[in-house]
């Protein structure tokens, strides 16, 4: 190529002239690619961080739990002795006996009440190497010298959520008092289990790590343990070892209910890893929606900038310059935009990444967080950002070099067609026609710009619609729980007891309560009975079924079955379809996932009392109705329908109404102090659990929302900037004819508003579809226990319309100065 320097200098001069516009388009690309890179990095960060955190704390390979919540214990040393007696004992690299018991945690300080259910975890501090160690983030950890002392480490997530200081004092059930000297975490509590299966909490569940003797003393069980965690040599067959251990335990501890589980059974660990993949699918969709918005906008804007060079291309053609050389300059513009876009993308990606990292650390405060720069992800996004503007420059160049030079030179060549759209006529004079005519004279440009706006509005609808959906879901849950006796408390007992037991009697007689409702909350499992009813299809979570009839192959659902006196107690669940009694009440999501409806039969696998013990039985139950609570794992059963449990006259959850003069905290404290009470929870504790479950989504959606708003503002500004540039001669003519700058601006604003309206309406339509897809398909997989329905509130819709139309409409006002200072004579004398 001859004179490459000339072309390069020419291109650089043009870059200087259009620097603001080029940078703005580049930032737009950067926002799209940066958000994409930031969102898609999170899955790798999470997986790496989970692996590192579990490894650092030496997570157990096998766990032995005695009693499984029934409060049973064995003598200290028994479990370890069984392990030592195993033929495969050499495979064990570490084992630690523990005492894990429910408690009420009272971490209140003057003016700041913190009362939550929780667990005491007594650890043998002398065991080496430690298994399921406690990582301390603030203060200090427990040392062998702390054996037997009333000091402990408080769970970090709980402490952060309740804004507790690094050290302090907590009280436990039964009047114990412990000074916590640090805040830390153990692998099983990286996320804190909600009371409801499938839900998690942050502020509602406190774990207090103690030395084993301290825990034994506080719970009144000296020399007892109920838990053993151990690690195995790498390469050990965990399944075979578990089977061998189970057999040995049955032989050594006859009549004692012992559960042996492995690492994969840690529920919180399972949730963490399962969420990574399902979350990522959701973020990918959102990132791609935003990226598409940026892509369309950049494509359109770069194309329009290159279109403006059409005459120069025509002049070049007239002078005999080969088309490929003529194409060079516009393509160089594309490269410049692309390079700046990559730089902007890396910067935005780092900012989004930092925000995501901070959010992830806040939502899941793990001991180790890797939020390093993901080169591969960024390279992918950067490649899109680099190639896109060059591709965008190609069509207008192609169009320009294909026509005769004289056509390219003519100003009218870019004036557009005069088809049916161009002849649309509005009432009023010539000024009234102008905005709509300006748009319709170039339908391709209108379409591309409208699509760019629509893509961003689509993303905005998805982001804000999801927030709406979450808000509506939690509000609905809260409303459902507070239909009656909103101040009621739930007194949770460590085991099922007769209603005449001393603890229940003490609660009844407590001056803190006026009314007591004995109920049962029992871990159960529901699954569709084969051939039952004619359901509407299985849930997205199960991934099976044909949608006709109930799905006996759908995955069973772990639930908590609440047995209560429906219709007569302090509170009863609301029913959205069917009836309250005459069978089981299940959640809408559970019915959907199992493919059943009221009147159908499901199987409830539940504990049944046999003598002094329990066995697990399957009971077919008719579905009486669908309750209004949006959590899949909640099942209600009227006392009259719970005969198969054989638990009449017993309770493990007392629903109580605080006495007048007793606030929630005072009543909680009074009840938690009663010996035999495990914990006390408010009626709406589940709401916090739902909010916690949604917290990471809300945080990321907020980040996405900010990026989308920036993107929309940039698209509006760029489109306006180019439009004002394209119309400068028309504006000069209007000014020469005596129109005021204000009128010229008003015409431009009207034109932009119509453009914004078209884009916004398209975006809302596409956005609502995308919202339904993300909520009803992707979120259903990500949050299988939550029944969420896509909702776009009227308020949000109004805000989006106002924003979409408003931001685009007012963008020309940014050009007021440019129009006011326009050199009218010079602009008018440009000879075509």
């Amino acid at each position: 190529m001859k004179s490459p320097g000339l072309w390069w200098r020419w291109s650089l001069r043009e870059l200087r002239q259009r620097l603001l516009l080029v940078v703005a388009i580049a930032i737009m690309i950067g926002l799209g690619t940066g958000l994409y890179a930031g969102l898609t990095s999170s899955s790798q960060w999470r997986r790496q961080s989970y692996d590192a955190s579990y490894a650092r704390l030496n997570v157990h390979d096998v766990r032995v739990a005695v009693g499984a919540g029934a409060g049973a214990t064995v003598a200290q040393g028994r479990l370890a002795a069984v392990v030592r007696s195993l033929p495969s004992a050499a495979a064990v690299t570490g084992n630690v006996e523990r005492l894990v018991l429910p408690t009420e945690i009272d971490a209140s300080r003057p003016g700041h009440t913190v009362l939550s259910r929780g667990e005491l975890v007594g650890i043998d501090l002398t065991a080496r190497p430690p298994v399921d160690a406690v990582s301390v983030a603030r203060g200090r950890g427990l040392v062998p010298a702390d054996q037997g002392r009333d000091v402990g480490v408080l769970d970090r997530t709980f402490a952060l959520a309740n804004h507790l200081p690094p050290s302090g004092t907590v009280r436990t059930s039964g009047g114990g008092q412990v000074r916590y000297v640090g805040q830390g975490q153990s692998p099983e509590y990286f996320i804190l289990p909600g009371e409801q299966p499938g839900l998690v909490t942050q502020s509602g569940f406190g774990v207090l790590y103690l030395s084993l003797p301290t825990a034994q003393r506080l719970t009144g069980q000296p020399g007892a343990v109920n838990d053993l965690v151990l690690t195995l040599r790498p390469g050990t067959d965990t399944g075979a070892f578990t089977a061998e251990l189970s057999q040995a335990l049955s032989a050594a501890l006859p009549g004692t209910n012992v559960t042996v589980s492995d690492r994969d059974d840690i529920q919180t660990r399972r949730i963490l890893y399962a969420e990574v993949n399902s979350d990522q699918r959701l973020w990918d969709v959102l990132a791609v929606v935003v990226l598409i918005g940026a892509v369309f906008a950049a494509f359109n804007l770069v194309g329009r900038v290159v279109d403006a060079q059409r005459r120069e291309i025509g002049i070049g053609m007239a002078l005999g310059v080969p088309p490929r050389r003529l194409a060079l300059r516009p393509l160089l513009l594309g490269v410049q935009v692309g390079v700046l876009g990559v730089v902007a993308g890396v910067v935005v990606g780092l900012i989004v990444g930092a925000a995501m990292g901070a959010l992830l650390r806040g939502v899941w405060p793990l001991p180790v967080w890797h939020t390093n720069f993901q080169v591969g992800v960024f390279a992918r996004a950067a490649a899109v950002g680099l190639v896109l503007p060059v591709l965008a420059a190609l069509p207008p160049v192609w169009r320009a070099v294909r026509v005769e030079p004289v056509q390219a030179i003519r100003a009218s060549a870019v004036a557009g067609g005069s088809g049916p759209l161009g002849r649309l006529r509005l009432p009023g004079g010539s000024l009234a026609q102008m905005p709509l005519r300006n748009l319709t004279r170039a339908p391709r440009r209108l379409l591309l710009t409208a699509i760019a706006i629509a893509a961003v509005i689509t993303a905005l609808v998805v982001f804000t619609g999801e927030l709406d959906t979450f808000t509506r879901t939690t509000n609905r849950a809260e409303r459902d729980l507070t239909t009656s006796a909103p101040n009621r408390l739930r007194v949770i007992l460590p085991r099922v007891e007769p209603v005449s037991s001393p603890t229940v009697t003490a609660v009844r007689r407590s001056p803190a309560v006026t009314e007591t409702d004995p109920t049962l909350a029992l871990p159960s499992r529901i699954f569709a009975a084969a051939g039952a009813g004619s359901g509407r299809g299985n849930g997205a979570g199960s991934g099976r079924g044909n949608g006709n009839g109930s799905d006996a192959t759908a995955e069973p659902i772990d639930v908590l079955t609440y047995i209560l006196d429906i219709g007569h107690g302090l509170w009863s669940p609301s029913v959205v379809s069917g009836s309250r009694t005459g069978g089981v009440l299940i959640a809408e999501k559970a019915a959907h996932d199992l493919g059943v409806r009221p009147g159908d039969t499901i199987t409830l696998r539940h504990p049944q009392r046999v003598g002094t013990g329990y066995r697990t039985v399957d009971t077919p139950l008719r579905i009486a109705g669908i309750h209004g609570f949006p959590v899949r794992s909640v099942v209600f059963l009227d006392n009259a329908d719970a005969g198969s449990f054989r638990l009449a006259g017993t309770t493990n959850v007392l629903v109580v109404q605080p006495a007048p003069g007793y606030g929630r905290d005072a009543a909680t404290r009074a009840l938690a102090a009663i010996p035999g009470v495990a914990s006390v929870a408010s009626a709406t504790a589940s709401i916090e659990e739902i909010r916690t479950l949604l917290r990471s989504f809300v945080g990321i959606l907020r980040i996405g929302e900010v990026v989308v708003l920036l993107l929309a503002a940039l698209i509006a500004y760029n489109a306006m900037s180019i439009a004002v540039d394209e119309r400068r001669r028309e504006h000069a003519t209007m000014l020469a004819y005596g129109l005021s700058t204000r009128t010229v601006l008003a015409l431009t604003v009207a034109e932009s508003a119509v453009m914004g309206l078209v884009g916004t309406l398209l975006g809302i339509a596409a956005g609502y579809w995308a919202l339904r897809y993300t909520v009803e398909v992707l979120l259903a997989e990500t949050l299988p226990d939550l029944g969420v329905q896509a909702i776009l509130s009227g308020r949000t819709l109004a805000v989006i319309v106002l924003f979409g139309v408003g931001a685009v409409a007012v963008a020309p006002l940014a050009a007021a100065r440019r129009i006011r200072r326009m050199d009218v004579p010079s602009t008018l004398r440009v000879i075509e």
């Binding site: 003519r410 100003a411 009218s412 060549a413 004036a415 557009g416 005069s418 161009g422 004079g429 010539s430 000024l431 026609q433 102008m434 005519r437 300006n438 319709t440 004279r441 001669r729 028309e730 000069a732 003519t733 209007m734 000014l735 020469a736 004819y737 005596g738 129109l739 005021s740 009218v824 004579p825 008018l828 004398r829 440009v830 000879i831 075509e832």
Partner: protein, 277 residues
């Protein structure tokens, strides 16, 4: 609506006007004023010692120097001179698109030399209209709508009727629904003239109106402009083409920003049909 500061308000009706509906509503229509075709008693454009200098850092350019000029109605005045002599600057100053550095500019008796932006805008809406070399039509509007724009901006009553009559007057009634890019260069310029006429403003400023046109088309444009001056308008045509100056009532020749000749065309006014270039 009255021109700000003018001695009298303006009529906005064109009823009963002779010729095409865009005929000027000028001083002749003002109460007490008298004006006959061919007479130049009412001074519409009054420039006194006008100078214009453009400062460009250490160097400056004098575009106009001590220009004094009075022009009445029924006049076709051609401003002649080579490129860079200040013709367009003079037109811009008269059209209130530019302000002089020195001197005074009066339009229809109103001093607009230091007038505010608002008043200058009002002058453009009510007193002067432009015809540009490169037409500057609105590409999204049809020929009719472009002409209607002139009537609308000036706030004329019965703007639709005025528009149709003006279009007939410039011979474009058949092309009224065409968009600019569907018209030839000559047709586009006729639309531009029609737009200026439709304002009803008494002063018509044309900057190289035939610059982009062939001879035959150029002649038609000049005939149109000649016709406007005959109807009472003051028509100023800027050109570097001496042949065009021969159809003028009066020729002002500029050189280096100064008037070097002001008078009738040498050899007298020639009918448009006899032009050759």
């Amino acid at each position: 609506m009255a021109l700000p500061g003018s001695p009298a308000g303006r009529e906005t009706t064109t009823a009963g006007e002779p010729g095409i509906a865009g005929a000027p509503r000028a001083a002749a229509e003002k109460p007490g004023a008298t004006e006959e075709p061919g007479a130049a008693e009412a001074v519409r454009i009054d420039l006194e010692g006008v100078g214009k200098r453009y400062d460009g850092g250490t160097t400056g350019v004098t575009a106009l120097a001590d220009v004094t000029l009075r022009v009445g109605s029924h006049c076709l005045l051609v401003i002649l001179g080579p490129s860079g002599c200040g013709k367009t600057t003079l037109l811009n100053v008269i059209g209130t698109l530019d302000t002089p550095t020195t001197g005074t500019v009066r339009l229809e008796g109103v001093d607009v030399t230091r007038a505010s932006r608002r008043i200058r805008r009002e002058v453009r809406r009510q007193a002067v209209s432009f015809v540009f070399q490169s037409f500057n039509l609105f590409p999204a509007l049809t020929a009719r709508e472009n002409v209607r724009f002139g009537a609308d901006v000036a706030g004329r009553d019965r703007a639709g009727d005025v528009t149709d009559e003006v279009l007939v007057g410039v011979g474009l009634a058949e092309r009224a629904t065409h968009f600019p890019h569907q018209l030839s260069g000559g047709e586009q310029q006729r639309v531009a003239i029609a737009r200026a006429i439709a304002t009803g403003n008494p002063i018509l400023l044309a900057d190289e109106p035939t610059g982009e046109l062939d001879f035959t088309t150029g002649v038609r444009i000049l005939e149109l402009l000649r016709g406007q001056s005959a109807q009472g308008r003051t028509v100023l045509v800027v050109t570097h083409n001496r042949e065009i100056a021969r159809i003028a009532d009066r020729v002002v020749e500029l050189s280096g920003g100064r008037i070097v000749h002001d008078g009738p065309p040498p050899g007298g006014r020639m009918p448009v049909a006899e032009l050759r270039w």
